[in-house]
Symmetry: C2
Subunit: 729 residues, 2 copies
Amino acid sequence: MEKTCYLLVSLISCLILFFLASSRFLPTKPELPGCSLYAPWCTSTASSKNPIFSKARSAGLHHKSTDHSTDTPKHPLDPLTVQEINSVRTILSSYDPFSSTLPSIHTLGLDEPDKLQVQIWRKGDPLPPRKAAVLALLNAHSHVLTVDLESSRVTSHAINPTSGYPMLTTDDIMSAAKVPFSNAEFNKSLTARGLSWSNSLCITPSAGWFGPDEEGRRVIRVQCYATQGTSNFFMRPIEGLTMTVDLDKLEVVKFSDKGIGIPVPKSSGTDYRYSAQEKPPQMEPLNPISIEQPKGPSFRIEDGHTVKWANWEFHLKADQRAGLVISRAMVRDSETGELRNVMYKGFASELFVPYMDLDDSWYFKSYMDAGEFGLGPAAFSLVPLNDCPRYSYYMDGVFAASDGNPFVQPNMICLFEKYAGDIGWRHSEDPLFGSEQIREARPKVTLVARIAATVGNYDYIFDWEFQTDGLIRIKVGLSGMLMVKGSPHQNVNQVPNQEDMSGPLISENVIGVVHDHFITFHLDMDIDGSNNSFVNVNLVKQENSPGINSSPRKSYLKAKRKIAKTEKDAQIKLKLYDPSEFHMINPSRKSRLGNPSGYKLVPGGTAASLLDHDDPPQLRSAFTNNQIWVTPYSKDEQWAGGLLVYQSRGDDTLAVWSERDRPIENKDIVLWYTLGFHHIPCQEDFPVMPTVSSSFELKPVNFFEANPILGAAPAFENDLPVCRPSASS
Amino acid sequence: MEKTCYLLVSLISCLILFFLASSRFLPTKPELPGCSLYAPWCTSTASSKNPIFSKARSAGLHHKSTDHSTDTPKHPLDPLTVQEINSVRTILSSYDPFSSTLPSIHTLGLDEPDKLQVQIWRKGDPLPPRKAAVLALLNAHSHVLTVDLESSRVTSHAINPTSGYPMLTTDDIMSAAKVPFSNAEFNKSLTARGLSWSNSLCITPSAGWFGPDEEGRRVIRVQCYATQGTSNFFMRPIEGLTMTVDLDKLEVVKFSDKGIGIPVPKSSGTDYRYSAQEKPPQMEPLNPISIEQPKGPSFRIEDGHTVKWANWEFHLKADQRAGLVISRAMVRDSETGELRNVMYKGFASELFVPYMDLDDSWYFKSYMDAGEFGLGPAAFSLVPLNDCPRYSYYMDGVFAASDGNPFVQPNMICLFEKYAGDIGWRHSEDPLFGSEQIREARPKVTLVARIAATVGNYDYIFDWEFQTDGLIRIKVGLSGMLMVKGSPHQNVNQVPNQEDMSGPLISENVIGVVHDHFITFHLDMDIDGSNNSFVNVNLVKQENSPGINSSPRKSYLKAKRKIAKTEKDAQIKLKLYDPSEFHMINPSRKSRLGNPSGYKLVPGGTAASLLDHDDPPQLRSAFTNNQIWVTPYSKDEQWAGGLLVYQSRGDDTLAVWSERDRPIENKDIVLWYTLGFHHIPCQEDFPVMPTVSSSFELKPVNFFEANPILGAAPAFENDLPVCRPSASS
């Protein structure tokens, strides 16, 4: 009888399988679905089917499928191919320490060649030896391996080099999320709330690290939601019910239910799918609008990853951890045509998302999404015309699953030209004398590379935007769902002291808990070569000295340049009343006028983490202790939160590295910038958040001899497309 | 002989008349050109021709001309029409105090009816009595007048109510710029530099105010430039040569030339006109790109000024001083369809642009562009396809010239829908089960109203952007020319101490002087009605109390709401490490959940003025002492620097009003925000600056019951336009 029931539940489960998401909060049911289609967690099935054939599956996607089985690397920085990933798996299988049991593979990607090898490489040269960097887990030990594909050997192997574990695999998440359903206490809690397996699912927030209690084994939290009546289970938390699950033993090691009496919020008004909407919002419909390029976009992609557009050239690839990596960004000198180095490598190195609620079910929520879950597997295929405009080019990611088999993340990057109606530069002179007046303006057209990583509830939209004037803008947009808290209250009138709540009431029985988002970028700037210096150009108020200057002014600002000698000189907290510009310069490359060639960091979206430095989440995410850091380049220092982040103790962060205070003047140095958001939710964020975004810029400063787009042509009516409404309208 | 020479020079002058710009630095020659076409300074000629017929004059402009002679006001806030301006002039001419001499008219515009009258007015109702507000000048006295058009009477008249004079007229500027050419010392200085009338022109920086020396009369500075070989005379300063001119007597009252020996910078590389370029920049050409709407834009304009788009409705008009004014902005409730008040009036109230050089020729440069020069006359016609995209709607301004006659500023505002490829909201769920997966994303389409005000050298681009989620973004872009300083140096190697320069060397003999830009916005928010409160939602770090909470967390943030009782509670300096949200709420309008309806100010582009508070420029621009202020609504407190700004002493600024510390809780209140830029120039800013922009937002917070664009439709391929390349390509 029990078994029949179990099967029945499984069948019902199948009908609502679309509730199963992956990545951070991948919800799941007791039974794994059949892997009828390729999915990252169906690794063994997948490898026997066709994992390397990517096709867009959503109704809206009608892009050509790409067969990756014959991909070959063309550039030293090209990601590992399907064949290479398969080779790595084979090599690891026959590697002595793993001969009995292959470890679970947590990340497997290109071990990039040394910078010098990449810098001297030219198209047509043979590639430097291809190597793989592997983070694996066996018997709760972290293995850090390098695999040489040429010699088919493991060439380096460290075990537990620091605290922490590699990022979770989809199998980890899937398995952990199933554990509660075989736990008696959990089932009792469900029943007590009138819920059952068929209308609930669980997600897996990471455990964080809070001292010795949970050390020595991999643990994760599991929290659950009611699913009935909506696709948006995130808005229906089973509040106060939290389990700690041993990720390797797959058992509940701590069960806590303090939420009896807190109702599960209603489902009505939560579904966000277009198909589920009963009425459009009260607004006049908009006529179709589109960015049109009937002659096609102006960029081209060579050898799969090298993007050439206007005066820019860079290498673009998907990455399992960072989501998207820009390498070898070079811009053509506007006068000489020389292709000049700007940035060797830029990517989102780590995120930190602390929630401001100390309850038993909340205190641990302090996500480090890149190192704990990975932005690559979370960057699901983009929706054409809605995530990216027409004429976008879509690029796939090829990653390894936990069994070492390759899988394809289709259409995870889009690349498009953007024209937003903005002005590149302009000036008027207007004596109004017929044609002799001056009206000069240039439209601004840019190139954008985008991913949207859905790490559980939140959607992070990453844009790398390139301008013809040499500027790079890095923008992060936040959308998706809030992580909400159940509440007994339906109206703030019922709340004796609203400040006791950890956030505003945003729907009946739903609190939007206050939280922060920090995204720390690794920006390996190589302005005209590797050896660069970091200059703090400080604007200092000067008092006028009456003896020296007869001006009736009392004060003025002076820009004082100070070159950072060591790392601590470059640990920067931004100050509104003590402002600076932050330049990365090449002291050896001077302009015609003698100014050093440089790029400046233009901060934006600045919110600082205010937590105590010795608070465990802040200790692990100490890379947010400053907004800017500069470190000497080290291949081992790519990930601001450390190589092994899951349950890490903060012993391998950017803050630890920087504390060594190494020399950074006229060296190969890396700039780090943290974009921050404080988020106090509001009703408008329910049930899905309108995108909030912030950006910062890397901007040429005395890099070009003069305005590099002075000679750019204006737009002429005769060149623009001729359009008519679509046939359907 | 001398006369012949004079005529000859005049003739040559005519050939280079296109160098003559208007507004702040309107350059001019000894002889006024013939007013063969209508121009604002040719007022008497103009009025006898056809000043009220606007046509686009630039080659690129092919818009229909608009005849304004029959314009009639349709809305209480509509600007004065051509007929009304003519009536005001007639009334003033027969007004006793002016019966012998009509004063010069410095601003003449609608005296807006009381708010209540406007609020209760409905389409079809008769308009409230039409009145004009006039700032005039007679015998160096400022006259502040109200003219009732119904009774044809002057109904109020104050003389010199505060320090300061009305904004300069174009005649003021034109006349002052001519004065040096009849000054012997000036001619000697020109000759000493090998220059002459035919290859130089003068502009008119405002004098500022620096104590009693220059009080009691209107004065202005005059500085000059070499014009040969370029349209961009701004890059060729005759450094160190400064005259102070009495604006009413039109004579040089102070002459100073400390620049002998500083060469006039070369002309090569300075011309920015497309026609003057010898070669395009080194980049691959871009294919045509355009925002296309073959069914036309979705907005409509009723009665000339009422804009209706999606869920927005607002009144849009040109303004002589503010450039562009948004009034009565209302958004439709997404659920009920109710049209709800958001902002009664929003506009750029004042600018402050202090330069950081105390030399004799520089210390006074501390512009207040709105009150000294006016953004309206500076907002020359926009260039289609380059300043604004296709399908833009262009609106004219109708202003009064100094003789009281109307003139038209054609195509000074553009209005367009913007699609930048951005995402309104999105979420994915990805169990990858065929069509059951979720991919929901919505493109973001917005509406933009834009002007570009060329105040002398700088171009200020003002964008008011409206989003369907209720957000208003106010963006300011800076382009145009730097105000540069001549230098004896051609290379920084020649400079013993670079810090002695007031800015970087950006071309041979050219220093880009460090300066700031502050733009202070008047934001009369009326959230669901006039009585609002300002709430500082302060994020305060809390230490965990071990006795109270067993969490292993040590710290967290709490949002603490504090309602500002009086003005001083709302004098806000932004602090990165003491962050707040800033809400304007209607305490009487509660959501379903009991939250007060509100909008928050989301700051951006924050740079603070660091000058001493008692430094004369800072005293006059004390509205920049804080980033945020809130004042009780007062019709007399619209202009942050005071009603009469020219040579004002800072006795009528926002800072003075706010110091009264009036109650502001649950009152009709006005929010003020200052967007700031520090600008350390660089080579890329020469000879014309790529646009730098910053923005801030007004964003609904618990205003809507839920995400207002939840039901918005995605874009479908079938609805998009069908385009082909233009015939010419």
